[in-house]
Symmetry: C3
Subunit: 201 residues, 3 copies
Amino acid sequence: MHLITVIEIIAILVGAFSGFIEARRKRMDVVGVFTVAFIAAFGGGTLRDILLDKRPLFWVIHEEYAILIFVLALVATPVIRTLRQIVSERLIVIADAVGLGLFSVAGVSSALDAHMPLFTASMMGVITGIFGGVMRDIVCNEVPMVFRDGKPYAICAFLGNWMFLLLGMNGFPHDFALWSSATFIVVFRLVTWKFDFRVGR
Amino acid sequence: MHLITVIEIIAILVGAFSGFIEARRKRMDVVGVFTVAFIAAFGGGTLRDILLDKRPLFWVIHEEYAILIFVLALVATPVIRTLRQIVSERLIVIADAVGLGLFSVAGVSSALDAHMPLFTASMMGVITGIFGGVMRDIVCNEVPMVFRDGKPYAICAFLGNWMFLLLGMNGFPHDFALWSSATFIVVFRLVTWKFDFRVGR
Amino acid sequence: MHLITVIEIIAILVGAFSGFIEARRKRMDVVGVFTVAFIAAFGGGTLRDILLDKRPLFWVIHEEYAILIFVLALVATPVIRTLRQIVSERLIVIADAVGLGLFSVAGVSSALDAHMPLFTASMMGVITGIFGGVMRDIVCNEVPMVFRDGKPYAICAFLGNWMFLLLGMNGFPHDFALWSSATFIVVFRLVTWKFDFRVGR
């Protein structure tokens, strides 16, 4: 299995896991738990693909990921309990940051393929990274967390996306631009999380 | 008028009616009542078609159904009162179950036409059957009922959709597969409703 | 700069401004303020284009408008304060009415280009005019204002859209139909606002 596949699966599972937690907090049944986890995991990329008019969607091509979330949702209660015992909050934040870095930059790349202009492409990357969580919170009848906690989550993605765009415009190889920008997002996110940095309202 | 057209109209009216009730409960005006009824009736199929990138949408082809809801919304208050007097809750549940059966299996069929893989096709059927109600509840600022009441509504659709897929894969004629699966969903839904069966959280 | 460009920019700014206010009221951070303003300004046209399957989206073609909202969101607090001092509520209502007139009729025209039937085209115009505000309110976890205040906002757009359709069907030139219908919407909206007219629930 390629490294990128492993990262992808872990990042999707972290997204789904955030949906499990939120759906349980709202006392949802198994249908709600699965749907909210699915939206949290795939919502951002799906919205990006609808805006770009790209098909087939990621979770149609990789149906195995959707099935994995389906199976986990059937046993969400023990899954949540087990994960909370064996995985620290720190590990979840790290896995989530890796997912944010990877999916944001991949979103920008996908928007460039669809001939989007630069600012739009940078936004498509942010949408990919954050709108899963936004839709999860809307379905759970909450004001989206990423819009109100003041933590530079979307901002990390936005800056890293521009690093990717600028490296590409200045002739750096695509792979180098992608990996260094994704790494930048991960590190920036973890540093601001570590020091509990907030943006002013 | 074909039987299927009659069933279609009744099922759409039941969806719209659920929107009338919910919008009124939230003290919406006529614009809200119409919009929520429209979303409740057509939202699931519209989301499916957007995900599958199919056009024209159902309510564009059958504009007469949209106009019917528009006219009913103008007189929603007497419509609700009259329906409540002449139609029992039992009849509404039956009509809704028939709609769930018909639209879910039709949604799977539509996804197969668009070359979706099996699990995705089964999900597209469930989305067709339940997301009208999900969007209705989101617009009305509620946690979607279908995600929290523990009643096997989406589950009936899911199992019936797989019955349709398995019958088709095993060489049964399309029409037999469609009607028997839709019937299965209707019966399963009504039996679980009758005995107030709940899935564990 | 053409008159229509000036009107367009002002109408978009009024939409974004309504997002600034609502996001601030919900104590959102800068990411939320930008996103809600963006959705309020472009959400209606984006939904219409997704339903019609039209690309590229308005805010991709006119990326400069998205960047303008981005820059304003960074300084939203002084922008709101300044605007509240120099611009009266009356002026904001007028600018918003002009935007409603322009974008509604433009939405109908866009739907006709996509070969939509008449009722659907009139609805697409209303969606263009009101769904930015609807989505803004949903993200802010409120029942959409336009569905519950009883003010004939969507109704003005709906009637003006039919005026546009009827003028076109009766052979009037496209430009005359467009401008007279947009003007009708603006005047009707301002008159009903002035006299605080409400539709019955």
